[in-house]
């Protein structure tokens, strides 16, 4: 009963309008480009060159060497030097520096007893002699900065004595698969595909239908023999291609600029992204049946977009979320997509290995399309 000719007519009309709508056209290209630059360059969870202050109360050769090797880690950079810890505290409060390293007067003495130099001396057992070599005071309000400096806590000092590295055996041996250099772009770029598709696909489809209502075209359209399903199919096909173009931009540029590997097969990648695009488009269709104007459809898009960014595992690991949040996150297609695209791109996961997620995504789409078609009435009341 569905007429391919009428679908083609709607599709053709949509393409003509899209071609003349420079703004939407530019958004298809610019949103992924800008977001990729923002997330790839600006958002970096591997902190480098945090500005800190140095308070060297010892002023010995050893204290100067200590400051040098701390700076050599590149985690921090000494931008200010103070004579007293009080001055350093003021600088932290005024946010001129994020932390201060305070090297006490008796640093030589402490150093000689420190296990960090790895001399293999018996560890000090009493309070006085087991004190750390120096002291950091840190602006702890930014947890990311704080943990970067905390990571310096157990820094080995063997280098200072020009001795072989610490022979202490760590408790665990850790082997990093898939992202051995621990670059955040490798994790962020594939996830960005999910965020951008969520945003643009829902917004474009819902706006495409709501716009007809807003401009008065809908009254004409529902007076023709065209079926609701034909309108919907004709309207979403152009955006499927728009979505694929965006995926190509993000992963292609991510590969070139940030060296994000694409380990999986292109076939699996295509299947996974197509599924997510169609799932997002069906959300857009549902939104379009609820929204009265483009502003409302924008608001509803943001309403879905925010949890898709925050709860899908894009920014914060899914496993760390409390149980109720995990339940909500599971209902978002973006959560499943994050898993799948990272799986394909970074771990070369096969479609078979992701079958549960794939089935879930298909189910979600069918449900969304049915809801939208049933809700979309060729009526004005």
């Amino acid at each position: 009963m569905i007429s391919p000719r009428r679908i083609a007519a709607v599709l053709k009309k949509e393409l003509l309008q899209l071609r003349r709508d420079r703004m939407t056209f530019a958004m298809v290209i610019m949103i992924p480009l800008i977001q990729l630059m923002l997330f790839g360059y600006a958002i970096n969870t591997n902190l480098r060159h945090v500005p800190v202050a140095l308070v060297d109360q010892a002023e010995t050769e050893l204290s100067r060497t200590l400051a040098q090797i701390v700076q050599a880690t590149q985690v921090v950079e000494f931008t200010e030097v103070f004579a007293t810890p009080q001055e350093a505290e003021i600088a932290i409060t005024e946010a001129r520096v994020r932390a201060a390293l305070i090297i006490p007067r008796d640093v030589d003495n402490r150093f000689a007893r420190s296990p960090a130099i790895g001399l293999g001396l018996p560890n000090a057992t009493d309070q006085t002699s087991s004190r750390p070599v120096a002291h950091w005071i840190v602006d702890g309000s930014d947890t990311m900065v704080a943990s970067a400096i905390k990571s310096l806590r157990a820094m080995p000092l063997t280098e200072m004595m020009r001795l072989p590295p610490n022979r202490l055996v760590p408790t665990f041996e850790v082997t990093l698969y898939f992202n051995p250099e621990q670059r955040s772009a490798v994790n962020i770029v594939p996830g960005l595909v999910g965020v951008i598709l969520t945003m643009t696909m829902i917004l474009f489809t819902s706006a495409a239908i709501v716009r007809e209502r807003e401009r008065g075209n809908m009254e004409m359209l529902i007076n023709t023999p065209v079926k609701s399903s034909e309108i919907m199919i004709g309207k979403i096909i152009p955006y499927i291609f728009a979505g694929l173009i965006q995926v190509a931009i993000i992963l292609g540029l991510g590969h070139v600029l940030f060296d994000v590997p694409i380990n999986g097969g292109l076939g699996a990648l295509l299947v996974v992204t197509l599924l997510f695009i169609i799932a997002s488009l069906s959300v857009g269709l549902v939104v379009s049946t609820l929204a009265k104007n483009q502003l409302q459809s924008m608001q509803m898009t943001v309403f879905i977009l925010l949890p898709s960014i925050l709860m899908s595992g894009f920014m914060f690991p899914f496993d760390g979320m409390p149980q109720p949040v995990q339940v909500i996150a599971q209902a978002l297609p973006a959560t499943h997509f994050m898993d799948m695209i990272r799986g394909v791109v970074l771990r070369d996961a096969s479609l078979f290995e992701m079958r549960e997620q794939i089935l879930w995504m298909i189910g979600f789409t069918v449900f969304g399309l049915m809801a939208a078609t049933l809700k979309f009435k060729k009526r004005l009341d």
Partner: protein
């Protein structure tokens, strides 16, 4: 030739507290142009939307082309054409693209699409605007495009909602000639308007006020059956004359038209001119003449009864 194409019984539609269409009984015969005449907000659009199946009536019955609405709305879509009050084709498509879209949506056979579009462009004088975006057309050109697209599938029944509200009198004339051509080809039309001259061209019309039908019939019948006499007064100080007459018994209405005052006097008064002369004996130099009623008189008299 007297088949009924549209009939309604006690058709009513409310929006919350407000009754937009109130117990409307209509019977529209094939081959006619049937007019809905009434001011803004009297329920013309709402009625047309119920007749096309876009709105569900709150109560009452609608039969269109022998089928019950809104249940039969879908199968009837290809036999009905509806030109909306506000331009509803795509402003960011050209004239030809819009017509092509309409042709494909209405399932015009692929091989005849081109010919049909050429024919319509010609009939509706759009040949010089084919590749112009509709957003940049003038009001009159937009109406022509709307009509062309609305009749592209040769509908038996056409609904035109205030089709000439935004066009100049010249365009309106040609537009109506085209409507009569369509009737000649066998179409039936329902046209809503708030213009008297436009209503006068209809075969039959219904005068609507606050959603209710106040009178119906052919314009001639309506004028002949007018329950009032029309007297025109000429002379100086017409504004004072008007204030003198307003509110007097049997004076239904007064309205100044240029240098004359048009007065409607209730039919129950056997000597309307004499009665007015008596009321105006303090004025000098007034000429009073009885006139044939026009449609505006009918409209005024039909819609004032509500207030009385």
């Amino acid at each position: 030739m007297t088949d009924v194409v549209v009939s309604t019984r006690s058709l009513t539609r409310t929006f919350g507290e407000k009754t937009a269409v109130d117990n409307l009984d209509l019977e529209i015969q094939t081959g006619q142009i049937y007019g809905f005449l009434g001011p803004n907000g009297c329920g013309k659009t709402t009625t047309i939307r119920m007749l096309t199946g876009l709105l569900t009536p709150s109560s009452g019955e609608v039969t269109v082309l022998g089928k019950s609405m809104p249940q039969a709305a879908e199968p009837l879509k290809s036999q009905i054409g509806y030109m909306t009050q506000i331009f509803s084709y795509y402003r960011d498509l050209t004239v030809r693209e819009n017509l092509k879209f309409a042709a494909e949506i209405y399932g015009i056979p692929a091989r005849s699409v081109k010919g049909r579009i050429e024919e319509l462009l010609h009939t509706y004088d759009l040949t010089t605007n084919v590749d112009q975006l509709c957003g940049s057309l003038s009001g009159g050109q937009r109406q022509k495009l709307s009509l062309a697209a609305t009749v592209i599938h040769r509908p038996k029944l056409l609904f035109l909602d205030e089709p000439t509200s935004a066009v100049d009198p010249e365009t309106r004339r040609t537009f109506w000639e085209q409507l009569f051509d369509l009737v000649d080809e066998g179409a039936t039309m329902i046209v809503s308007t708030h213009f008297m001259d436009e209503a006068e061209r209809c075969h039959k019309l219904a005068i609507l006020q606050n959603g209710a039908k106040k009178a119906d019939g052919s314009p001639r019948q309506l004028m002949d059956n007018l329950q009032a006499d029309v007297v025109e007064i000429e002379g100086p100080e017409l504004r004072t004359v008007k204030h003198q007459l307003d509110g007097k018994p049997k004076v239904l209405s007064t309205a100044q038209i240029g240098s004359r005052l048009r007065v409607l006097v209730d039919k129950s008064e056997p000597q309307p001119v004499e009665m007015l002369r008596a009321l105006l004996n303090t004025f000098s130099d007034l000429t009073l003449t009885q006139q044939r009623p026009n449609l505006e008189d009918v409209f005024v008299s039909a819609t004032r009864e509500q207030k009385a």
